[in-house]
Point group: C2
Chain length 116, copies 2
């Protein structure tokens, strides 16, 4: 696999086109790829979009099961992945868990894809 040293080589002039800013390090790329994996699933994208479209960007897990047509354990698993990846936060009120969108969770990758 790649090392931090290789990134240093690029910016030190191993590369023929000078870079305008520091590219992602191997470690940053690994971390960001894990975050992106959480988004690379149709059910998780639909769950996120329903939460984002809900009033106050918050939805009860009870409202998320029927729309995606999957079992509660499966939906709970996907919500857990999205929460671990930093796209949602979870709070419990009474019987139900509520999930709230974390705005700006995609900022790191948006910055990455901004032209220099």
């Amino acid at each position: 696999m790649t090392t931090m040293l290789e990134v240093t080589d690029v910016t030190a002039g191993g590369c023929c086109t000078p870079l305008q800013r520091e590219p992602l390090s191997a470690a940053e790329a690994d971390q960001l790829a894990t975050t992106m994996k959480a988004l690379a699933d149709p059910t998780r994208l639909r769950l996120l979009s329903i939460v984002a479209a809900s009033e106050g960007s918050e939805a009860c897990v009870c409202d998320l099961i029927e729309p995606v047509g999957l079992s509660q354990p499966t939906v709970s698993h996907h919500l857990k992945v999205l929460t671990a990846a930093g796209f949602l936060t979870r709070s419990k009120r009474g019987t139900w868990a509520y999930f709230t969108l974390v705005p700006g969770a995609l900022d790191r990758v948006s910055q990455l894809l901004t032209a220099s």
Copy 2:
């Protein structure tokens, strides 16, 4: 799998919290997940970040091989995946292929993650 009908059920009031806007359809989510899969890889994220950090957001394939420490065929494969997913465009000038960042390729998912 899920159907378009289920999405209709949600917005028609099968869900107890009214939605502020239309969530992703199953078909849109499938397509977007494919796009996100292209980003869910550390090497591809590093390649994209090097192109984005290059002058004019354009880089020669010859400048992308050394930084990621992989063979030319492997790097070319990753660049092909990024091009197919709409993150890069490819042009050939002389011996080398050049890759240019497509700004706004992430807009669809950014919109999705915007609070309602």
